[in-house]
């Protein structure tokens, strides 16, 4: 009995030491994502982030709950504020903050114009345009941006409700409204009840493992090559397995919601909006954007022009993977956007 007690105590003690080790070495940091009952998934202010995807990312959520330098909700007098909305391409968890296109854009504008510019990064992985919009309305708007750039990919205009985010729908009066059904989801309740677990690195590792199991990777991980192909049902695991090509689709519900969103953009007297396509969009969506007189930049065309025999804008040398934009592409995108903003909005 005594031996069991010593054993149990030591297992707990060693595990605590391992938890400290994981946090100090940043092998696995606590999840920086919390849940807010209005906004849905939020970034927890002052959380450290260390991710090794195609490249190495080290950073910290600022005190206001977004990435990059922390600009408060109160605007700096005379400064022009630009908000970047988007998914993992804007979030840019592949390279250090000082090299991402947000920084390049801000520096380029500040070095070439007399005004002061503040560029705020509200990019979040996995968001579609609908979620970006709810995030903008519920959270980003308080920062009073002058210009908002929505950086979107080929599929992002397909409006689908996402886990732990408010949804969008057109009500009977033909108004665009937010739905908060996410608050009734089991996932939301579990996250609220056991929020303290998300501050534990070991739990984060367990959660990642459970996610892989739920996505159908169990047999593949356990049996590797011996796992017969049909049993492998999960999504491709490595970034190198993913080809970032567009797969344009269009559906009538998305078109209705998009029309309403664009209408709201046009009715906003203070803020200017632009859609920046990082992937090819369906022609019908482009027509809708133009019909609604929203500014549109087909950025992907210019990024694709970088491609040569020796250069791939999505290739990462360190991990030998293809994926998001690499350092050079971020530099290009930042400079290109600066030029675009000067032409379209500033001068």
């Amino acid at each position: 009995m005594k031996k069991i007690l010593i054993y149990t105590t030591l297992v707990i003690g060693f595990s605590l030491l391992m938890e400290v080790f994981l946090q100090l070495t940043e092998v696995s940091l606590p999840n920086p994502i919390g849940v807010d009952q209005k906004v849905g998934k939020i970034l927890i202010p002052d959380s450290r982030i260390n991710l090794i995807k195609e490249g190495l990312y080290l950073g910290e959520v600022n005190e206001y709950g977004y990435l990059g330098p922390g600009y408060p909700t109160e605007r700096t007098p005379g400064a022009i504020r630009i908000a970047l909305m988007g998914d993992s391409y804007v979030e840019a968890y592949q390279l250090f903050e000082q090299f991402n296109f947000r920084t390049v854009l801000e520096n380029t504008l500040n070095n070439s114009e007399s005004e002061k510019f503040e560029v705020l990064n509200f990019g979040r992985s996995g968001m579609n345009f609908g979620t970006m919009y709810t995030y903008y309305e519920n959270y980003v708007k308080q920062f009073e941006p002058d210009i908002v750039l929505f950086v979107i990919g080929g599929d992002d205009f397909v409006i689908k409700n996402q886990n732990l985010f408010p949804g969008l729908k057109i009500d009977n009066q033909n108004n665009l409204v937010f739905t908060d059904g996410f608050k009734n989801s089991t996932l939301y309740k579990l996250r609220q009840k056991y929020s303290y677990l998300f501050g534990i690195s070991t739990f984060e590792l367990l959660k990642k493992s459970a996610k892989l199991v739920s996505e159908g990777y169990l047999l593949h991980i356990l049996f590797d090559k011996l796992n017969p192909e049909p049993l492998f049902t999960g999504k491709p695991k490595k970034a190198s397995d993913v080809e970032y090509t567009s797969s344009p689709r269009i559906d009538s519900n998305s078109v209705k919601i998009l029309s309403k969103i664009f209408e709201n953009f046009n009715n906003d007297g203070k803020t200017k909006f632009a859609i920046v396509a990082r992937g090819e969009l369906d022609q019908n969506y482009i027509s809708l954007i133009k019909e609604c007189e929203i500014k549109y930049l087909p950025l992907y065309k210019y990024v694709n022009s970088l491609k040569t025999d020796n250069f791939d804008p999505n290739y990462w040398k360190g991990t030998n993977k293809r994926g998001h934009w690499n350092h050079t592409t971020h530099q290009f995108v930042g400079e290109y956007l600066a030029k675009y903003l000067k032409n379209e909005f500033i001068n």
Partner: protein, 476 residues
């Protein structure tokens, strides 16, 4: 098959009981087939190379032994060397020398597009080539008799725990053990479990996790500041050590479970106080192989001081090239050769001590620490050339370190490096002071099992959710 994979663990828990449920006469064949399966799991085509080496050296070994004429013995040895080194040379160095030849011609404005072959390097070829060579050389030297059993020799060449990355065993030590595979003693089982547990932890929790930080930094040093780069270099030194020593622990532990003793490959090298000691503690099976089959035949230290330094340098240059077909490895070897020669010059006729005692230096622990630190700094510089893809990359790295470029995450890199360093040091300190890798078996059972439980839990958990990092030395 990677040691840090679930497939290997399934393989291990199947093979070990299977071997010992069989009658002794079937154990060799079962282990040999299992070893070929283990090797063929990467690419079954390369098992043919193993077979060639096995057949050639088995029969040449016998022929050398029975041959009376010294000249004929020499010819037979040369056939063995030519076959083994020929295969190694073709698969590992053909493109390297072809490209180097091209570049040399280009310097004289000659254009000759020398053939570049799309060759896949067979895993572990450098290791098993050296192991089989030691067999024929030892027979040639009259230091051992050839084995009568082909199966015994086939298992010696292919024995899976040490096949792909050593320890590079000597026939004199391993062959007799494989000739009669006995059930392991309880102590061997305990030691095997201890070695595998610690090895897995070191490989996965220190080696693999470090690799994920180090790789992007070395690939694009232009995006990092001085402190980040310097930290990454220290992290690489910890990565390669824990990766390789962890692997060696798993190899030795696996062999223990099969009742076989493999030689130690690492003996806390970063606690060395001089470079000669470092090489007595680092990759021992390779450094002793190079000493016995290269340095001593070249004349060792028997032909005067100058010749000794030349021999040291030659041995280390070739040792560098053994690691990989890149001039950066040659420079790595050259730097170590230079350090060893200078240290030999400084030591004169005195012999450095190698005992595990922090107070071995006459002065104090402080003197020990100064020597330890300076030795590690010298070794650290060599790791830069070992890890860098090219000289351009290495010099860019050095340039950015010494230009004191701004680091965005200096404090975080320092914290990461210090924490990894402390964990690595804890294992080294325990092994160093207890003078054993298997001291765990003498620890109070609840403490030991608690440590194993936590090490296995985190190693398996991390292994499950991260893509396995190949063992660094596989590429050699």
């Amino acid at each position: 098959m990677l040691f840090n994979s679930f497939v290997f663990l399934f393989f291990l828990v199947t093979i070990v009981p299977l071997v010992f449920t069989l009658k002794p006469k079937y154990r060799q064949i079962t282990l040999t087939l299992a070893s070929y399966f283990f090797y063929g799991y990467w690419d079954w085509r390369f098992t043919s190379l193993l077979m060639i080496s096995t057949v050639v050296d088995f029969y040449i070994g016998k022929a050398i032994y029975t041959e009376i004429s010294q000249q004929r013995k020499k010819q037979l040895l040369l056939i063995s060397l030519f076959t083994n080194l020929g295969i190694l040379g073709f698969f590992k160095y053909f493109n390297f020398f072809a490209e180097s030849f091209n570049e040399t011609l280009a310097m004289f404005n000659y254009q000759l597009d020398f053939l570049h072959l799309n060759i896949l390097l067979p895993v572990g070829i450098s290791f098993y080539t050296f192991q089989t060579l030691s067999y024929t050389i030892d027979i040639y030297r009259g230091e051992m008799k050839p084995t009568e059993s082909f199966l015994n020799f086939a298992l010696f060449v292919s024995f899976f725990p040490q096949l792909v990355a050593g320890p590079i065993e000597r026939a004199k030590h391993l062959l007799p053990q494989l000739n009669k595979i006995e059930k392991p003693s309880l102590l061997y089982i305990k030691e095997g479990i201890a070695l595998i547990s610690v090895g897995m932890f070191k490989k996965i929790i220190i080696g693999d996790t470090l690799g994920r930080i180090v790789d992007p930094v070395f690939a694009e040093p232009e995006y990092y500041g001085s402190i980040e780069l310097f930290a990454a270099l220290i992290l690489f030194s910890l990565q390669i050590y824990n990766d390789f020593s962890g692997y060696s622990h798993i190899a030795r532990g696996t062999a223990r479970l099969l009742g076989i003793d493999l030689m130690e490959n690492f003996n806390q090298p970063y606690l060395s106080t001089n470079i000669t000691e470092f090489w007595r503690r680092w990759h021992i099976s390779l450094s002793s192989w190079l000493r016995d089959y290269l340095y001593i035949p070249l004349g060792g230290n028997r032909k005067g001081n100058v010749r000794t330094y030349v021999n040291l340098m030659l041995t280390m240059l070739l040792g560098g090239l053994w690691h990989g077909a890149n001039w950066t490895f040659v420079v790595w070897g050259g730097l170590h050769g230079l350090y060893l020669a200078v240290h030999k010059l400084m030591m004169g006729s005195k012999k450095p001590r190698y005992d595990n005692d922090f107070k071995r230096e006459k002065g104090s622990v402080v003197l020990f620490l100064i020597k330890l630190l300076s030795t590690n700094l010298l070794v650290l510089l060599t790791w830069l050339f070992f890890r860098a893809d090219s000289f351009d990359s290495a010099f860019l790295f050095l340039n950015r370190v010494f230009m004191f470029t701004e680091s965005s995450f200096a404090l975080r890199f320092i914290t990461i490096t210090t924490t990894f360093g402390i964990l690595s040091l804890i294992f080294d300190y325990l092994e160093y002071t207890r003078k054993s890798h298997t001291f765990w078996v003498n620890i109070n059972a609840p403490v030991r099992y608690a440590a194993y439980t936590v090490m296995w839990f985190y190693a398996l958990l991390y292994m499950f959710q991260a893509e396995p990092m190949p063992f660094i030395y596989f590429q050699f």
